[in-house]
Amino acid sequence: MNLVNLILPVVYIITLFYTIFWLITLLDNKEEKKKVIKKFPLVSVVVPAYNEEDVILETIDSVIALDYPKNKLDIIVVNDGSTDSTKDIIEKFIDEHNDYNIKLINQDNQGKWVALNNALKTAKGEFFTCLDADSSVEKAALKKMLPYFADNNVAAVLPLIKIKNPKGILQKIQCYEYIVNFFYKKIMSSLNCIHVTPGPFGLYKKNVIDKLGGFRQGHNTEDMEIAFRLQKHQYKIIQLLDVDVYTYPPENLKNFYFQRNRWNKGSILNVWDYRKMMFKKKYGDFGMLQMPMVLCAGFIAMTIIVLVLFYNVLKPLFNGLYNLSLVDFDIFSFIANMNFNLNLLDFNYYKLIIIAVMITVSLTVFTLAHKYTKQRLTSQGVMPLLVFILFYYLLLGAIWLGIAKDLVFKKVKKW
């Protein structure tokens, strides 16, 4: 019995359990009625910007284009010490749009969480949202989101984030990733288990955030830290799938790696910071299921990459090459004597059964995710779909290996 044969069933059982749990939750959920807005409270929309001269106008434009009364929008742009012309562009925009209530806050470059807190201090809205400078939002967003705050326990409502104009295979596979992730978050939402309120247009009840003391650095993932704090104080976070926010994804592998490294590292470190909530009945499914899941995700991704890459690719490849070197790389001798005596009994059924179950489960989740987010399976083409299905977990595994290395060497990068 080698290491692979021991770890594989553990990973298999954990993954299977979680997926079955999600599917049962999904089946249990009754379709909710669409809520209609009855009153228009003041909403503060914060746009933090650091060297965003290319996209800042597009972002602010999408805010003022919101289908919401002009006088009920309190727009705050925080220039986080930009060194390009971001500040000038914003000032010019404010001058040209004096019929809107737009403020500019300039601060030294201190990061997004400080920008949010500075905005919170001047924000007048009953509700508070942040739109990252590389994102834009659909017009009806506020009208669709605000009615959910009718439940007093709701502290945040989240939109569905989509990739803006995906180009190239990396951005296209992120489209699929987002679809699956938001489907998962929708299920988690029904269990009140959401562990991150992502930057683009997460809408908060401002007095709750004020009461909890604003945003914290949270290992460069302030949107995750605030979600953990809301969960700790027994607030509800709601995920919607019918409100679209568009964001630009990382355009190259390096930036993708750094973004995912920051996100995933943040999730591990925040779980660790709030570890006292884990396995406490008081925190319901969040403590019993979601927090252990966040920890398991990294373990599973790493296992997959180590097992697949090392035991099934690198090791056999190395052994094969070494053996061939013993016979002076005379491959033709083996090709000439190849014997295709296929015997079905020779397959490794232990691994085959696991792979078959995993593929069935993944495809079910994948198809349901597309159904719930109202997307076509091949919306990004067949090639990115195949790449996503075949290589996404390897990519994720590689990122987790990087995180494991960083955590061992205590390296927590600034964003």
Partner: protein, 232 residues
């Protein structure tokens, strides 16, 4: 807010997970049973093949029908290739088996005996039909004590591919304690390390690279063989 905690959902998910897991296990069990049956059926055929071959050589020997030697030696070659294929398959099944390990272990004994039968028969047929061939008895070990066995087997497979029916290789698992013949051979030749090759009665302990084996076997052929030009 007081959170809901639906214990029932966890229990249902756990039960479903375990059911799928055990269903997989059951399927594995069925497949393992089929594997035992398959090896058993191959075993019966192998025994018949061996008896028939023995009979054919006895016929040639007693009635001096040497003209039939070529045809019979082709059958002989085919039989030991089949034998080797089933043996490696059996070993693979035994390695992956979870519940029928004992069945596979017993079946393995039959194959060890078969290998040795064919090896002895090869010694006799060489004389009866005056064949120019070399036999190798390859003692390997399936445990971690023999890190070089995989490489040695790879080289032997390569040489078999090159020499075809001029080279007969019989692989024996030296760690198989239930068959006394293995111990007898090990005692007789003083074998204590693996891999060990017995090439026409000469013992060579430890891993031997391709060129080393070629030098030994090429010196044993009576006639010239193309592959041996550089090794005589």
């Amino acid at each position: 807010m007081v959170r809901e905690f639906n214990k029932k959902r966890y229990i249902i998910a756990a039960l479903l997970t375990l059911s799928i897991f055990f269903l997989g296990l059951m399927l594995g069990l069925v497949i393992e049973g089929k594997r035992v049956q398959y090896i058993e059926s191959m075993n019966r055929i192998e025994k018949l093949d061996y008896s028939s071959l023995q009979l054919q050589y006895a016929y040639i020997d007693q009635l001096s029908q040497e003209k039939n030697c070529d045809a019979v030696s082709k059958t002989f070659e085919k039989n030991i290739l089949n034998l080797e294929e089933v043996r490696s398959r059996l070993e693979n099944y035994e390695r992956n088996a979870n519940l029928n390990k004992k069945d596979f272990h017993t079946l393995k004994r039959e194959y060890i005996i078969a290998q040795l039968n064919y090896w002895l028969l090869a010694q006799r047929t060489k004389k009866i039909c005056d064949q120019d061939l070399v036999t190798i008895l390859y003692f390997y070990s399936t445990d971690k004590e023999c890190p070089d066995c995989g490489e040695q087997a790879f080289i032997l497979t390569y040489l078999k591919n090159e020499f075809k029916d001029k080279l007969l290789i019989f692989a024996l698992d030296s760690t198989y304690a239930d068959e006394p013949m293995i111990e007898m051979l090990k005692d007789q030749h003083g074998i204590s390390r693996y891999p060990t090759l017995i090439i026409e009665g000469h013992v060579f302990e430890d891993f031997i690279p391709k060129d080393g084996i070629l030098r030994i076997i090429c010196s044993l052929y009576k006639k010239d063989i193309d592959y041996c030009k550089n090794y005589k």
